[in-house]
Protein backbone atom coordinates (compact mmCIF):
# COMPACT_ATOMS: atom_id res chain seq x y z
CA UNK A 1 0.00 0.00 0.00
CA UNK A 2 1.36 3.39 -0.95
CA UNK A 3 1.73 5.46 2.22
CA UNK A 4 0.31 8.72 0.92
CA UNK A 5 -2.82 7.69 -0.89
CA UNK A 6 -6.20 6.66 0.42
CA UNK A 7 -6.98 3.17 -0.84
CA UNK A 8 -10.65 2.35 -1.19
CA UNK A 9 -12.48 -0.64 -2.59
CA UNK A 10 -14.93 -0.71 -5.44
CA UNK A 11 -17.63 -3.29 -6.00
CA UNK A 12 -16.98 -4.98 -9.33
CA UNK A 13 -20.70 -5.16 -10.10
CA UNK A 14 -22.37 -1.92 -8.96
CA UNK A 15 -19.18 0.22 -8.72
CA UNK A 16 -20.04 1.37 -5.17
CA UNK A 17 -16.94 2.67 -3.34
CA UNK A 18 -16.26 1.79 0.25
CA UNK A 19 -13.77 1.95 3.09
CA UNK A 20 -12.47 -0.18 4.73
CA UNK A 21 -12.47 -3.36 2.61
CA UNK A 22 -15.74 -5.21 3.03
CA UNK A 23 -16.36 -8.87 2.46
CA UNK A 24 -19.69 -8.01 0.89
CA UNK A 25 -21.01 -4.97 -0.97
CA UNK A 26 -23.94 -3.82 1.16
CA UNK A 27 -25.58 -2.24 -1.92
CA UNK A 28 -25.71 -5.29 -4.24
CA UNK A 29 -24.27 -8.14 -2.08
CA UNK A 30 -21.56 -8.95 -4.58
CA UNK A 31 -18.36 -10.20 -2.91
CA UNK A 32 -15.82 -9.29 -5.64
CA UNK A 33 -14.05 -5.94 -5.23
CA UNK A 34 -11.12 -4.07 -6.74
CA UNK A 35 -8.70 -1.81 -4.89
CA UNK A 36 -8.72 1.78 -6.15
CA UNK A 37 -6.63 4.82 -5.20
CA UNK A 38 -8.49 8.02 -4.35
CA UNK A 39 -7.40 11.61 -5.00
CA UNK A 40 -7.26 12.61 -1.33
CA UNK A 41 -9.15 15.83 -2.06
CA UNK A 42 -12.47 16.69 -0.51
CA UNK A 43 -14.54 19.01 1.68
CA UNK A 44 -15.16 19.04 5.42
CA UNK A 45 -18.65 17.72 6.21
CA UNK A 46 -18.37 18.31 9.96
CA UNK A 47 -15.67 18.54 12.62
CA UNK A 48 -14.89 18.58 16.32
CA UNK A 49 -11.95 19.69 18.45
CA UNK A 50 -11.22 16.90 20.93
CA UNK A 51 -10.11 18.13 24.36
CA UNK A 52 -10.61 14.89 26.32
CA UNK A 53 -8.97 12.14 24.24
CA UNK A 54 -9.59 8.40 24.51
CA UNK A 55 -6.85 6.08 25.72
CA UNK A 56 -6.31 4.76 22.17
CA UNK A 57 -5.23 8.17 20.87
CA UNK A 58 -1.55 9.13 20.98
CA UNK A 59 -2.14 12.71 19.90
CA UNK A 60 -1.85 15.45 22.52
CA UNK A 61 -5.14 17.36 22.84
CA UNK A 62 -6.61 19.56 21.62
CA UNK A 63 -6.70 18.13 18.11
CA UNK A 64 -9.25 18.43 15.31
CA UNK A 65 -11.09 15.42 13.91
CA UNK A 66 -12.81 15.99 10.58
CA UNK A 67 -15.27 14.02 8.47
CA UNK A 68 -14.27 14.63 4.85
CA UNK A 69 -16.41 13.95 1.82
CA UNK A 70 -13.84 12.98 -0.81
CA UNK A 71 -14.28 14.16 -4.38
CA UNK A 72 -15.09 10.55 -5.33
CA UNK A 73 -18.17 10.80 -3.09
CA UNK A 74 -17.29 8.74 -0.03
CA UNK A 75 -16.74 10.11 3.48
CA UNK A 76 -13.62 9.39 5.56
CA UNK A 77 -12.76 10.28 9.13
CA UNK A 78 -9.39 11.96 9.61
CA UNK A 79 -7.58 14.76 11.40
CA UNK A 80 -6.40 18.22 10.51
CA UNK A 81 -2.61 18.15 10.41
CA UNK A 82 -2.49 21.64 11.91
CA UNK A 83 -4.64 21.66 15.05
CA UNK A 84 -4.82 25.44 15.06
CA UNK A 85 -6.38 25.62 11.56
CA UNK A 86 -10.10 26.44 11.23
CA UNK A 87 -12.24 23.43 10.32
CA UNK A 88 -15.37 25.10 9.00
CA UNK A 89 -17.97 22.96 7.25
CA UNK A 90 -17.41 23.12 3.49
CA UNK A 91 -13.68 23.92 3.69
CA UNK A 92 -11.63 22.20 0.97
CA UNK A 93 -8.87 19.92 2.25
CA UNK A 94 -6.24 17.58 0.80
CA UNK A 95 -4.55 14.55 2.25
CA UNK A 96 -1.06 15.36 3.54
CA UNK A 97 -0.11 11.91 4.74
CA UNK A 98 -1.28 8.74 6.41
CA UNK A 99 0.59 8.66 9.72
CA UNK A 100 2.14 5.61 11.39
CA UNK A 101 -1.14 4.88 13.20
CA UNK A 102 -3.03 4.80 9.92
CA UNK A 103 -4.76 8.14 10.55
CA UNK A 104 -5.50 10.32 7.50
CA UNK A 105 -3.98 13.77 8.09
CA UNK A 106 -5.39 16.61 5.98
CA UNK A 107 -4.23 20.16 5.22
CA UNK A 108 -6.62 23.01 4.47
CA UNK A 109 -6.23 23.93 0.76
Amino acid sequence: MEPNNIQAYQCNTCKQLFLPPKTICSACRNTETTKVTLSGHGKIMTSTVVHIPPNYSKKAPPYTVILVKLDEGIPVMGQLNDSSAQALIGTAVSLKEINEDGIYLFDVD
Partner: protein, 396 residues
Protein backbone atom coordinates in the same frame (compact mmCIF):
# COMPACT_ATOMS: atom_id res chain seq x y z
CA UNK B 1 -38.22 -2.75 4.91
CA UNK B 2 -40.75 -5.56 4.91
CA UNK B 3 -43.64 -5.16 7.31
CA UNK B 4 -44.22 -7.92 9.85
CA UNK B 5 -47.01 -10.22 8.86
CA UNK B 6 -49.99 -9.95 11.14
CA UNK B 7 -49.57 -12.22 14.10
CA UNK B 8 -51.74 -12.50 17.13
CA UNK B 9 -50.29 -10.57 20.06
CA UNK B 10 -51.91 -10.29 23.46
CA UNK B 11 -51.79 -7.06 25.49
CA UNK B 12 -48.97 -6.79 28.05
CA UNK B 13 -48.76 -4.68 31.22
CA UNK B 14 -46.12 -3.45 33.61
CA UNK B 15 -47.00 -4.57 37.13
CA UNK B 16 -43.74 -3.85 38.96
CA UNK B 17 -40.85 -1.40 38.67
CA UNK B 18 -37.63 -0.79 40.54
CA UNK B 19 -34.72 1.64 40.27
CA UNK B 20 -31.61 2.19 42.36
CA UNK B 21 -30.16 5.55 43.22
CA UNK B 22 -28.10 6.70 40.22
CA UNK B 23 -24.60 8.00 40.93
CA UNK B 24 -21.47 6.63 42.50
CA UNK B 25 -22.29 3.39 44.29
CA UNK B 26 -20.31 1.07 46.57
CA UNK B 27 -22.35 -1.90 45.33
CA UNK B 28 -21.05 -4.39 42.79
CA UNK B 29 -22.67 -4.62 39.36
CA UNK B 30 -24.65 -7.74 40.32
CA UNK B 31 -25.79 -6.23 43.63
CA UNK B 32 -27.13 -3.19 41.76
CA UNK B 33 -29.06 -5.53 39.42
CA UNK B 34 -30.41 -7.50 42.39
CA UNK B 35 -31.58 -4.34 44.20
CA UNK B 36 -33.73 -3.02 41.36
CA UNK B 37 -34.98 -6.53 40.49
CA UNK B 38 -36.13 -7.22 44.06
CA UNK B 39 -37.94 -3.87 44.16
CA UNK B 40 -39.74 -4.66 40.88
CA UNK B 41 -40.68 -8.20 41.93
CA UNK B 42 -41.95 -7.08 45.35
CA UNK B 43 -43.97 -4.18 43.93
CA UNK B 44 -45.58 -6.60 41.43
CA UNK B 45 -46.68 -8.94 44.23
CA UNK B 46 -45.51 -12.00 42.27
CA UNK B 47 -43.61 -14.94 43.68
CA UNK B 48 -39.99 -15.43 42.60
CA UNK B 49 -40.85 -18.91 41.33
CA UNK B 50 -43.54 -17.47 39.03
CA UNK B 51 -40.91 -15.65 36.94
CA UNK B 52 -40.27 -17.63 33.75
CA UNK B 53 -37.58 -15.63 32.00
CA UNK B 54 -35.13 -12.77 32.53
CA UNK B 55 -33.72 -10.25 30.06
CA UNK B 56 -30.73 -8.29 31.30
CA UNK B 57 -29.51 -5.20 29.45
CA UNK B 58 -25.83 -4.39 29.86
CA UNK B 59 -23.20 -2.79 27.62
CA UNK B 60 -19.73 -2.63 29.17
CA UNK B 61 -19.94 -4.92 32.23
CA UNK B 62 -17.28 -7.28 30.94
CA UNK B 63 -14.90 -4.44 30.27
CA UNK B 64 -15.46 -2.04 33.19
CA UNK B 65 -16.85 -4.32 35.93
CA UNK B 66 -14.93 -7.41 34.79
CA UNK B 67 -18.03 -9.60 34.95
CA UNK B 68 -19.80 -11.54 32.20
CA UNK B 69 -22.74 -13.99 32.37
CA UNK B 70 -24.80 -11.32 34.12
CA UNK B 71 -28.16 -12.78 33.06
CA UNK B 72 -27.53 -16.23 34.51
CA UNK B 73 -25.83 -14.64 37.50
CA UNK B 74 -28.92 -12.58 38.32
CA UNK B 75 -31.20 -15.63 37.98
CA UNK B 76 -28.88 -17.61 40.25
CA UNK B 77 -28.71 -14.88 42.92
CA UNK B 78 -32.51 -14.54 42.89
CA UNK B 79 -32.82 -18.30 43.48
CA UNK B 80 -34.44 -18.98 40.09
CA UNK B 81 -31.39 -20.36 38.34
CA UNK B 82 -33.24 -22.88 36.18
CA UNK B 83 -35.03 -20.31 33.99
CA UNK B 84 -33.64 -18.81 30.76
CA UNK B 85 -31.78 -15.54 31.32
CA UNK B 86 -30.57 -13.57 28.31
CA UNK B 87 -28.17 -10.65 28.28
CA UNK B 88 -28.93 -8.07 25.58
CA UNK B 89 -26.30 -5.69 24.22
CA UNK B 90 -27.03 -2.73 22.00
CA UNK B 91 -24.67 -0.09 23.39
CA UNK B 92 -26.69 2.52 25.33
CA UNK B 93 -29.96 0.93 24.14
CA UNK B 94 -29.17 -2.42 25.81
CA UNK B 95 -31.94 -1.80 28.36
CA UNK B 96 -34.52 -0.89 25.73
CA UNK B 97 -33.83 -4.16 23.91
CA UNK B 98 -34.20 -6.14 27.16
CA UNK B 99 -37.56 -4.47 27.79
CA UNK B 100 -38.74 -5.13 24.23
CA UNK B 101 -37.87 -8.82 24.38
CA UNK B 102 -39.58 -9.25 27.74
CA UNK B 103 -42.65 -7.63 26.18
CA UNK B 104 -42.50 -9.76 23.00
CA UNK B 105 -42.19 -13.10 24.76
CA UNK B 106 -45.33 -12.37 26.77
CA UNK B 107 -47.20 -10.78 23.85
CA UNK B 108 -46.52 -13.90 21.76
CA UNK B 109 -47.78 -16.18 24.52
CA UNK B 110 -44.48 -17.82 25.44
CA UNK B 111 -44.44 -16.68 29.07
CA UNK B 112 -46.69 -14.95 31.62
CA UNK B 113 -44.13 -13.35 33.95
CA UNK B 114 -40.85 -11.89 32.71
CA UNK B 115 -38.32 -9.67 34.48
CA UNK B 116 -36.31 -7.10 32.52
CA UNK B 117 -33.37 -5.47 34.28
CA UNK B 118 -30.74 -3.04 33.02
CA UNK B 119 -27.50 -2.37 34.86
CA UNK B 120 -24.12 -0.68 34.54
CA UNK B 121 -21.21 -0.08 36.90
CA UNK B 122 -18.90 2.64 35.55
CA UNK B 123 -17.54 4.88 38.31
CA UNK B 124 -14.80 2.48 39.43
CA UNK B 125 -13.02 3.00 36.09
CA UNK B 126 -10.90 5.95 34.96
CA UNK B 127 -12.43 8.47 32.53
CA UNK B 128 -10.07 7.44 29.67
CA UNK B 129 -11.08 3.79 30.18
CA UNK B 130 -14.80 4.66 30.22
CA UNK B 131 -14.33 6.87 27.16
CA UNK B 132 -12.61 4.03 25.30
CA UNK B 133 -15.26 1.49 26.34
CA UNK B 134 -18.15 3.71 25.22
CA UNK B 135 -16.40 4.45 21.92
CA UNK B 136 -16.84 0.78 20.95
CA UNK B 137 -20.49 1.68 20.27
CA UNK B 138 -19.11 3.32 17.12
CA UNK B 139 -17.10 1.91 14.22
CA UNK B 140 -13.62 1.63 15.75
CA UNK B 141 -11.70 0.82 12.56
CA UNK B 142 -13.36 3.37 10.29
CA UNK B 143 -13.88 6.27 12.66
CA UNK B 144 -12.94 6.07 16.34
CA UNK B 145 -9.26 5.21 15.78
CA UNK B 146 -8.97 8.59 14.02
CA UNK B 147 -8.96 9.97 17.58
CA UNK B 148 -12.73 10.37 17.79
CA UNK B 149 -14.65 9.83 21.04
CA UNK B 150 -18.34 9.28 21.68
CA UNK B 151 -18.82 12.93 22.74
CA UNK B 152 -16.77 13.84 19.65
CA UNK B 153 -19.17 12.00 17.36
CA UNK B 154 -22.16 13.85 18.87
CA UNK B 155 -20.20 17.11 18.67
CA UNK B 156 -20.05 16.50 14.91
CA UNK B 157 -23.84 15.98 14.87
CA UNK B 158 -24.24 19.20 16.89
CA UNK B 159 -22.01 21.20 14.51
CA UNK B 160 -24.05 19.88 11.57
CA UNK B 161 -27.40 20.75 13.20
CA UNK B 162 -26.20 24.28 14.02
CA UNK B 163 -24.93 24.76 10.44
CA UNK B 164 -27.97 23.28 8.67
CA UNK B 165 -30.78 24.75 10.78
CA UNK B 166 -29.21 27.68 12.57
CA UNK B 167 -29.80 25.98 15.92
CA UNK B 168 -28.07 28.16 18.51
CA UNK B 169 -25.64 27.29 21.30
CA UNK B 170 -28.16 28.74 23.78
CA UNK B 171 -31.06 26.63 22.46
CA UNK B 172 -28.99 23.47 22.86
CA UNK B 173 -27.88 24.52 26.35
CA UNK B 174 -31.54 25.00 27.31
CA UNK B 175 -31.97 21.20 27.11
CA UNK B 176 -29.41 20.77 29.90
CA UNK B 177 -30.93 23.60 31.93
CA UNK B 178 -34.41 22.04 31.73
CA UNK B 179 -33.21 18.53 32.53
CA UNK B 180 -31.17 19.75 35.52
CA UNK B 181 -34.26 21.59 36.74
CA UNK B 182 -36.29 18.37 36.44
CA UNK B 183 -33.52 16.49 38.24
CA UNK B 184 -33.99 18.66 41.35
CA UNK B 185 -37.27 16.82 41.98
CA UNK B 186 -35.94 13.33 41.37
CA UNK B 187 -34.39 11.92 44.55
CA UNK B 188 -32.76 9.13 42.48
CA UNK B 189 -30.98 11.59 40.16
CA UNK B 190 -27.22 11.98 40.38
CA UNK B 191 -27.50 15.77 39.92
CA UNK B 192 -30.23 17.62 41.82
CA UNK B 193 -29.03 21.21 41.33
CA UNK B 194 -30.25 23.85 38.92
CA UNK B 195 -27.85 25.31 36.37
CA UNK B 196 -28.28 28.13 33.85
CA UNK B 197 -27.41 28.61 30.17
CA UNK B 198 -24.25 30.51 31.11
CA UNK B 199 -23.06 27.56 33.25
CA UNK B 200 -23.45 25.23 30.26
CA UNK B 201 -21.74 27.37 27.63
CA UNK B 202 -18.79 28.22 29.87
CA UNK B 203 -18.27 24.72 31.30
CA UNK B 204 -15.17 22.70 30.45
CA UNK B 205 -14.65 21.85 26.78
CA UNK B 206 -15.00 18.12 26.13
CA UNK B 207 -15.12 17.94 22.34
CA UNK B 208 -16.10 21.22 20.69
CA UNK B 209 -18.84 22.34 20.53
CA UNK B 210 -19.85 19.90 23.32
CA UNK B 211 -19.01 21.02 26.86
CA UNK B 212 -19.21 19.26 30.20
CA UNK B 213 -22.81 20.26 31.03
CA UNK B 214 -23.97 19.04 27.62
CA UNK B 215 -23.03 15.52 28.79
CA UNK B 216 -24.50 13.01 31.22
CA UNK B 217 -22.28 11.98 34.15
CA UNK B 218 -20.50 8.63 34.33
CA UNK B 219 -22.67 6.70 36.77
CA UNK B 220 -23.66 3.41 38.39
CA UNK B 221 -27.22 2.17 38.59
CA UNK B 222 -29.86 -0.41 37.75
CA UNK B 223 -33.55 -0.43 36.86
CA UNK B 224 -36.08 -3.25 36.51
CA UNK B 225 -39.62 -3.96 35.37
CA UNK B 226 -41.87 -6.96 35.79
CA UNK B 227 -44.34 -7.68 32.99
CA UNK B 228 -47.40 -9.92 32.62
CA UNK B 229 -50.44 -10.26 30.32
CA UNK B 230 -52.86 -7.33 30.75
CA UNK B 231 -55.79 -9.69 31.36
CA UNK B 232 -54.33 -10.84 34.68
CA UNK B 233 -52.44 -7.65 35.65
CA UNK B 234 -55.12 -6.40 38.07
CA UNK B 235 -54.94 -9.66 39.99
CA UNK B 236 -51.57 -8.42 41.22
CA UNK B 237 -51.69 -4.62 41.40
CA UNK B 238 -54.32 -1.85 41.30
CA UNK B 239 -52.44 0.37 38.87
CA UNK B 240 -50.80 -1.57 36.04
CA UNK B 241 -49.50 0.34 33.02
CA UNK B 242 -50.13 -1.01 29.53
CA UNK B 243 -47.54 -1.36 26.77
CA UNK B 244 -49.30 -0.02 23.67
CA UNK B 245 -46.50 -0.11 21.13
CA UNK B 246 -42.94 -1.29 20.64
CA UNK B 247 -40.39 -0.57 17.93
CA UNK B 248 -36.75 -1.49 17.36
CA UNK B 249 -34.54 -0.67 14.37
CA UNK B 250 -30.90 -0.54 13.35
CA UNK B 251 -29.19 2.29 11.49
CA UNK B 252 -25.70 3.10 10.20
CA UNK B 253 -23.07 2.46 12.87
CA UNK B 254 -20.84 5.25 11.56
CA UNK B 255 -21.21 8.93 10.74
CA UNK B 256 -19.87 8.13 7.26
CA UNK B 257 -22.92 5.93 6.66
CA UNK B 258 -25.50 8.58 7.59
CA UNK B 259 -27.44 10.21 4.77
CA UNK B 260 -28.13 13.21 6.98
CA UNK B 261 -25.81 14.18 9.86
CA UNK B 262 -28.73 15.76 11.76
CA UNK B 263 -31.05 12.74 11.94
CA UNK B 264 -30.96 9.13 13.15
CA UNK B 265 -32.95 6.90 10.82
CA UNK B 266 -33.20 4.10 13.43
CA UNK B 267 -35.20 6.41 15.73
CA UNK B 268 -37.73 7.30 13.03
CA UNK B 269 -38.16 3.67 11.92
CA UNK B 270 -38.56 2.35 15.49
CA UNK B 271 -41.01 5.18 16.24
CA UNK B 272 -43.12 4.38 13.19
CA UNK B 273 -43.32 0.74 14.27
CA UNK B 274 -44.39 1.72 17.79
CA UNK B 275 -46.86 4.36 16.55
CA UNK B 276 -48.42 1.84 14.13
CA UNK B 277 -48.80 -0.81 16.85
CA UNK B 278 -50.38 1.66 19.29
CA UNK B 279 -52.54 3.54 16.80
CA UNK B 280 -51.17 6.77 18.30
CA UNK B 281 -49.12 9.58 16.78
CA UNK B 282 -46.66 12.04 18.34
CA UNK B 283 -49.45 14.59 18.96
CA UNK B 284 -51.28 12.01 21.13
CA UNK B 285 -48.36 11.58 23.57
CA UNK B 286 -48.63 13.29 26.98
CA UNK B 287 -45.20 12.70 28.53
CA UNK B 288 -41.85 11.73 27.01
CA UNK B 289 -38.50 10.29 28.06
CA UNK B 290 -35.87 10.56 25.31
CA UNK B 291 -32.24 9.53 25.09
CA UNK B 292 -30.45 12.81 25.88
CA UNK B 293 -26.97 11.26 25.88
CA UNK B 294 -25.92 14.82 24.97
CA UNK B 295 -28.06 17.97 24.94
CA UNK B 296 -28.14 17.98 21.11
CA UNK B 297 -29.35 14.36 21.15
CA UNK B 298 -32.63 15.39 22.84
CA UNK B 299 -33.34 17.92 20.07
CA UNK B 300 -32.50 15.41 17.32
CA UNK B 301 -34.63 12.72 19.03
CA UNK B 302 -37.71 14.96 19.43
CA UNK B 303 -37.46 15.84 15.73
CA UNK B 304 -36.92 12.25 14.58
CA UNK B 305 -39.85 11.08 16.75
CA UNK B 306 -42.14 13.57 15.00
CA UNK B 307 -42.79 15.97 17.88
CA UNK B 308 -41.19 18.80 15.89
CA UNK B 309 -40.21 19.34 12.27
CA UNK B 310 -36.49 19.10 11.52
CA UNK B 311 -34.78 22.25 12.73
CA UNK B 312 -37.59 23.27 15.07
CA UNK B 313 -36.41 21.30 18.11
CA UNK B 314 -34.00 23.99 19.31
CA UNK B 315 -36.44 26.94 19.28
CA UNK B 316 -39.19 24.70 20.73
CA UNK B 317 -36.99 23.69 23.65
CA UNK B 318 -35.93 27.26 24.35
CA UNK B 319 -39.59 28.38 24.34
CA UNK B 320 -40.53 25.87 27.06
CA UNK B 321 -42.70 23.42 25.08
CA UNK B 322 -40.68 20.51 26.52
CA UNK B 323 -40.72 21.82 30.09
CA UNK B 324 -42.73 20.03 32.78
CA UNK B 325 -45.77 22.26 32.22
CA UNK B 326 -45.34 22.47 28.42
CA UNK B 327 -47.21 20.68 25.63
CA UNK B 328 -44.61 17.93 25.35
CA UNK B 329 -43.02 17.50 28.79
CA UNK B 330 -39.72 15.75 28.07
CA UNK B 331 -37.43 13.96 30.49
CA UNK B 332 -39.30 14.72 33.74
CA UNK B 333 -36.81 12.33 35.41
CA UNK B 334 -33.99 14.74 34.60
CA UNK B 335 -33.01 12.60 31.62
CA UNK B 336 -29.60 11.06 31.22
CA UNK B 337 -27.99 14.48 31.70
CA UNK B 338 -29.19 15.05 35.28
CA UNK B 339 -30.35 11.62 36.43
CA UNK B 340 -27.15 9.91 35.27
CA UNK B 341 -26.46 7.43 32.49
CA UNK B 342 -25.46 3.96 33.67
CA UNK B 343 -25.75 2.93 30.05
CA UNK B 344 -27.30 -0.55 30.31
CA UNK B 345 -29.85 0.69 32.87
CA UNK B 346 -31.02 3.79 31.00
CA UNK B 347 -33.67 2.23 28.73
CA UNK B 348 -35.44 0.61 31.67
CA UNK B 349 -35.03 3.64 33.96
CA UNK B 350 -37.03 5.58 31.34
CA UNK B 351 -39.84 3.00 31.65
CA UNK B 352 -39.62 3.30 35.46
CA UNK B 353 -40.22 7.07 35.29
CA UNK B 354 -43.04 6.83 32.73
CA UNK B 355 -44.80 4.08 34.72
CA UNK B 356 -44.79 6.37 37.77
CA UNK B 357 -46.03 9.24 35.60
CA UNK B 358 -48.97 7.21 34.27
CA UNK B 359 -49.76 6.02 37.80
CA UNK B 360 -49.77 9.68 38.88
CA UNK B 361 -47.11 9.13 41.55
CA UNK B 362 -43.89 10.51 40.02
CA UNK B 363 -41.84 12.85 42.20
CA UNK B 364 -41.97 15.21 39.21
CA UNK B 365 -45.55 14.58 38.15
CA UNK B 366 -46.89 16.01 34.88
CA UNK B 367 -50.56 16.89 34.43
CA UNK B 368 -52.60 13.62 34.43
CA UNK B 369 -50.90 11.91 31.48
CA UNK B 370 -52.75 9.11 29.67
CA UNK B 371 -49.97 8.18 27.24
CA UNK B 372 -46.17 8.15 27.33
CA UNK B 373 -43.24 7.50 24.99
CA UNK B 374 -39.75 6.17 25.78
CA UNK B 375 -36.89 6.52 23.29
CA UNK B 376 -33.58 4.69 23.80
CA UNK B 377 -30.62 5.17 21.40
CA UNK B 378 -27.53 2.99 20.96
CA UNK B 379 -24.26 4.25 19.50
CA UNK B 380 -24.32 7.22 17.17
CA UNK B 381 -27.71 6.12 15.86
CA UNK B 382 -26.67 2.49 15.32
CA UNK B 383 -29.94 1.33 16.87
CA UNK B 384 -32.98 2.58 18.68
CA UNK B 385 -35.96 1.27 20.61
CA UNK B 386 -39.20 3.20 21.07
CA UNK B 387 -42.01 2.19 23.44
CA UNK B 388 -45.43 3.70 23.95
CA UNK B 389 -47.20 3.18 27.26
CA UNK B 390 -50.75 3.92 28.35
CA UNK B 391 -52.63 4.35 31.58
CA UNK B 392 -54.76 1.34 32.43
CA UNK B 393 -58.33 2.59 32.51
CA UNK B 394 -59.94 -0.83 32.24
CA UNK B 395 -61.85 -2.58 34.96
CA UNK B 396 -59.94 -5.84 34.68
Amino acid sequence: MSQNKKISMRPVSIIGVGCTQFGKSDSSIIDLAIKSSVEAINSANVKYDDIQSIYLGNFVGERLANQGSLGAMLADRLGISDIPATKTEGACASGGIAFRHAFLTIALGLYDFVLATGVEKMTSSSTPDVTAALATAGDMEMEMYAGLTFPGAFAMIMASHMQKYGTTREQIASVSVKNHRNGTNNPKAMFQKEINVEDVITSREISEPIRLFDCPPISDGAASVLLCPTEIAKNFVDNPVNILGSGHASGPISLSGMNDLTSFSATAIAANEAYAMSGLRAKDIDVIEVHDCFSIAEIVALEDLGFFNKGEGGPATESGITALNGNYPTNPSGGLIAKGHPVGATGIAQIYELTKQLQGISTNQTNEPETALAHNLGGVGALSTVHILGKNNGTK
